[in-house]
Amino acid sequence: MNKGRLLAAGIAVATLLLLVIGTMWPVTSAVAYAGGGQGDLLVAPSTPEAAANDLGTQIRLHAWDKAYSSLANKAEFTQDQFIHDLTGYALSLRTYATLDGFEVQPLHQTANDADMIMKLRWSTVVGTFEDKRNVHATRSGDHWAVNWPIVPEQHVPPQVIPVNYLRWDVITSGSGDDWGAQDVEAPHVRIVDMHPVNRADGVVVMGELLNEDVIPAYVSVRSTLLAKNGSVLDSEGSFDMISHTLLPKQVTPFVIRFPGVDLSDVASIRMQPLSVLVSASADPVIEVLNQQYNAPPGASLTGQLSNQSGQTVNVAHVISSFYDKNGQLIWVAGQYIDRALQPQTPVDFHISVPEDIARNVNTERTVVSTYVLGGSL
């Protein structure tokens, strides 16, 4: 063989070899785009973990056909039901969520059966949520397949729910009005509780805000930390850790975080509640059912949300405040509900409480703010 042919053959072989290496042991970015996290994408599911990993990969890639066909119990439900189980039956945070990552924890395994926990970490526009599923895998020949624990859709019985909800509309003054002409004032709101604490990642200022007016208010709270020399250390807002729409006499907790600031450097805190008069509706009413504080270890507040109205709530945000035995506010935490709240259909929530704070919790209070598609103007 002459040099030219040798070189051509060498290039061809080396290229093929590099392609094989790149496919069998892909670089990190290639693995990410292929939906995996394990780096062994072409390995057949010869173990229960591999079967669960493959399933997670297919879900991540939205390869629903492959994911559904890989299931051992697919005869029990349709592919649409499987997809809706993961993406939600009604428009919700799940609908456009992307699977950020997943984790498979083996629990128990025999020659032909295995139990595992699949923790699916979904990324949504408001943050991440974890979907934990107890999955059972069975062996069929030389490969394993997962039994998917489907959560069936809860049907609301056909009915008519009369709605005579209250609504406030606002007419503001025009630009041609005379000097001194009054406009409708902003709602009167008041911070009824405020408590700063030092945490590992910085200062946390929490409190409660009351709408003491007879009209609804759109509220937010801004907090500025001042050093001993009067200079501003940091200024942050409550962002999404507050219920922004407050009906008359309604109270919302709020949390403002100051990462990287130590409380010992703070001489004073300036609180600036902001309230704006807005059009608002008193519906939907959300009931917080069976709220239970679970003492440490693994302290949490659990319960259910029940939508008492006739319309579907697409996204709900639960914010809970925790008090010690003296009634002092000691913690505020929240959770977005990843499933839509259908009328009269309870949906679980679970809010974790840090262990060091959990020991002092005596009572708690929960508020729910809701987002209904197309109902924000």
Binding site: Q182, A282, E287, N290, V367
Partner: protein
């Protein structure tokens, strides 16, 4: 040059001059400046409406053969023409002492603040007539007063009057905090229908619909809460029926009674 010591804003006036030849006359004040070419020996005339901003002015006469300065005060017209009326707040709870404040500013036809003391009347009236009146005298063009909100809810007219000029604002007197919240419970389809009695403030005004009442049911270390808006004066909700559960209600910082559910007994 001998200008008058003061002229009324917007009125016609003249400034006599002496000598001969041409000169320029300037009148320079805080918000206005006027220039006139004058023949010395002839008065410089200013028509009505030329000098209309009240204040202290300097008058300058300059020419080839003359340089003179003098001072001139332009004072507001004595006749009020418009009122600036600031009424605060636009909305307040009933029974608030000195809760309503009104400040009036009196202007002439050229929007000069009339600093001469003038009597002003401020009236608070509802549908059935005048309920409160204050008469005050302006000081440096400003007068203000405070009034109490009534015990009964509803809108009132807040009128400021000077001579035959008046300005009106609307004040909304709204119910205060609930005075007492009384709840009752009754079984309904295996659940518990909890509702408040009509909620009033301490003056007997009905708390407006939409006001939130928070119901809390506690049972065996579990809790169910729901924020319910008043509808037609009553807040009503269906809650789980647990025998031995405690149910309470609150609105804002006001708490109501607590009932112990004994399973319908």
């Amino acid at each position: 040059m001998t200008p008058p010591p003061s002229v009324t804003a917007g009125s016609a006036f003249a400034i006599p001059t002496t000598g001969s030849g041409k000169a320029a006359l300037y009148i320079v004040g805080p918000a206005q400046a006027v220039r006139r070419d004058v023949d010395l020996g002839q008065p410089a005339s200013f028509a009505a409406g030329v000098l209309y901003n009240a204040g202290h002015y300097v008058v300058l006469l300059t020419g080839d053969s003359v340089a003179d300065t003098a001072e001139l005060d332009v004072v507001p017209a004595p006749q009020p023409e418009t009122l600036g009326f600031l009424a605060k707040p636009s909305r307040l709870p009933v029974g608030t002492p000195n809760g309503i404040s009104g400040a009036i500013y009196i202007f002439d036809a050229y929007h000069n603040l009339i600093t001469k003391p003038l009597p002003a009347t401020l009236e608070l009236s509802n549908a059935s007539g005048i309920v409160q009146t204050r008469t005050v005298t302006t000081l440096n063009g400003l007068a203000w007063t405070e009034m109490n909100s009534a015990e009964k809810e509803g809108t009132v007219k807040f009128v400021a009057r000077v001579g035959n000029i008046s300005s009106t604002r609307i004040i909304d007197q709204v119910p205060g905090d609930p005075c007492a919240i009384t709840i009752s419970a009754a079984p309904a389809n295996g659940k518990l229908l909890v509702q408040t009695a009509p909620v009033h403030d301490c003056s007997g005004n009905a708390i407006p619909d939409g006001t939130i009442v928070t119901f809390t049911e506690t049972y065996n270390n579990m809790q169910t809460t729901v924020d319910v808006p008043l509808k037609q004066g009553v807040a009503r909700v269906t809650m789980p029926a647990y025998k031995g559960s405690k149910i309470s209600a609150a609105s804002g910082v006001v708490a109501g009674n607590e009932i112990l559910w004994g399973g319908g007994q």
